[in-house]
Symmetry: C2
């Protein structure tokens, strides 16, 4: 009668940054030992794991040997060695998200072809093998964005091509040229898929970007987009997750263009900046949800507890060095403000050093607090 | 203009059990490096600190040397070497709660004398130096409880003395004899005092005990006691905190007797089992609040977000050994249930292995879920 018990498992994470650190905050409430691999000996997860290994998650042998120490292996960054992950899958390690899913998502070209094949709405694109290919496109393709097929994130590996005059800037690497969408607004939906096929989405969030840093700067929930459009966004996001066959979290970033069309922008097979508010604003945080999905546990409820704004706390321009905090005590006195610093010793301009979530039944009041935080809280160096 | 910045501090914790572990979950969101001292090499904090030292927190040299590595030194258990703490205070380490406060609270005799001196209502008592002293008391003193002056907690070091027939069981150590109160109900108030004298209390909680284990088994908030009595309890608790002069958290356990008198039962100068629900049920958790108070940060809001029940998850009777979990998946499917396991490898009968908090706007619905958890979730050994 008592053979359906659960014993401690070893949960491995490729990547030891802030996403891993926040995953650990939740995973530590469950019967899990945490193993982390990161190339940085001072990574945010450093002091919060049963086992922390300094090593390159893009290296075959490193990932293979690390993975063999774990029962369940997951990621907090997608730029990992998928060949090693495939071998680990053969050896019976539970790799979630699966190696094949990560492999597809690593390549923006494969991603776009996948959308095209399955009629997922997305901006028109052409695969570009080398800069010469650009000259074969007619003028209607521009303005556009040239995106490196691999290793891009947070605006890295993305280049605006306004016209032929910009062709000389193009990467000499396989890329995707994506026609520039006239964006009305951007939103994100995080979808979780459990091992038994169970699927649960978080309520969509509105995103506002810092143009200079090319990073999400604010999130707002509930989204101010009309509910029909939100439902459409949810259906698209869940369709992508189902078609890819992912187990774990899939963060889906979407555009709404000036013609009111919803287009899939980018996807990430992991916890995501667009879900940081879920710690305080939803019944189950995205970090707990990811842990539940990859460990084969039932998914948690995703519904919202409160309206919220999330603001990323970036390293101040003009400062590089050991981080110190200005205005910390003032924001600690603001009701409903939850500060999350990531334990990074060194600040750099626009480096993601932390975030704050503001909970308020009134979204506008939360927005005002977020603006106050931006104006008084600064991360500088001594 | 920019000299009021805050740099990382080293926060030391004497004790590395579940209270320390939950403190770390909150402290890791702030610019703090965590140092932990515990005699158990497998203590719950083991893998969650910048620096973890295996050592006896009751030993002078161990505490002195450990404390010298930190900027702020706090406790998660009060049975620590206060002579070393006094020396550390002289050396300029910020010890919170202060050595003198811990010293008084370590001794149930001094505690009771303190209540008597300041007219804090508490059960009648006599100090007992050795078992012979009991014979000098008349029959009106019994039934009573004999409590060892030092090293008691969770019912340890407490003996029921129904009549003279029980005298032979008495400890041969300085004790307090406390007349048995006719208890109608038990409640607790956690008070936080900041470095600037700021004081904030949590809403009182009702406590239900497991008689066999002599442990809190359930907490209920909001308390079902009438609001006038609750206000009286808050005033008494805050008065005790002020008079003791503590900086940090003071957990005050109180009785209401059958004559409707409120009496102080026990106090603890730290985070406490009676505040575990605050992670999910209050704006600021007791763990964050303790961190704020001892680090000299402003206190957070303590008001309730939701009704809640907290249930302690104890090792099942009849099982000692490596812990496994029965019914885990079932309780993970219950909405509004937050599981907190403490990472203890070994289970023993009635060992505190974790807790669950149930959030529901309807307290009765939460109570039903708590009972369901008790009936389906078991911690046993293989």
């Amino acid at each position: 009668v008592q053979n359906n018990f659960i014993s401690r498992k070893k949960l491995g994470i490729l990547g030891g940054g802030q996403l891993g650190r926040m995953l650990i905050r939740e995973a530590m409430r469950y019967p899990l030992d945490i193993y982390v691999l990161d190339p940085d000996k001072d990574a945010p997860c450093k002091n919060y794991a049963q086992y922390f290994e300094v090593g390159n998650f893009a290296d075959y042998d490193t990932v293979l040997n690390f993975g063999r120490k774990t029962d369940v292996l997951t990621i907090e960054i997608e730029h990992v060695n998928v060949v090693a992950l495939k071998q680990l899958e053969k050896e019976g390690i539970s790799v979630c998200p699966q190696a094949g899913v990560i492999e597809m998502i690593q390549d923006k070209g494969l991603q776009k072809q996948f959308y095209a094949k399955h009629n997922i709405p997305t901006a028109d694109f052409r695969l570009i093998n080398n800069p010469q290919d650009l000259h074969q496109l007619d003028d209607n393709w521009f303005p556009a964005f040239l995106k490196s097929r691999k290793l891009g994130y947070d605006g890295k590996g993305v280049l605006a091509i306004h016209s032929k005059k910009d062709f000389h800037k193009a990467f000499d690497a396989p890329s995707v040229l994506e026609i520039a969408v006239k964006i009305k607004t951007e939103l994100a939906v995080i979808v979780a898929v459990g091992k038994n096929g169970e699927i649960k989405s978080y309520p969509p969030v509105d995103m506002a970007f810092n143009e200079k840093a090319n990073l999400v700067e604010y999130l707002f929930v509930p989204s101010r987009i009309d509910s029909k459009k939100l439902e459409e966004a949810r259906i698209i996001a869940e369709k992508v997750a189902r078609l890819i066959g992912i187990i774990g979290l899939l963060a889906v970033e979407l555009f709404i263009d000036t013609d009111d069309r919803i287009l899939v922008n980018e996807i990430a097979p992991r916890t995501h900046n667009s879900g940081h508010h879920t710690f305080e604003a939803n019944i189950t945080s995205q970090f707990e949800q990811h842990m539940r999905a990859v460990c084969g546990f039932p998914l948690g409820e995703t519904s919202a507890i409160s309206a919220a704004v999330m603001v990323n706390l970036l390293g101040e321009e003009g400062y590089t060095g050991e981080a110190v905090y200005l205005g910390l005590e003032e924001i600690m006195q603001m009701e409903g403000v939850y500060l999350h610093l990531y334990g990074k010793k060194i600040t750099k301009p626009f480096r993601k050093m932390g975030h704050a979530t503001i909970i308020d039944k009134d979204l506008n009041a939360a927005i005002q607090k977020a603006e106050r935080i931006k104006s008084v809280f600064k991360i500088i160096s001594k």
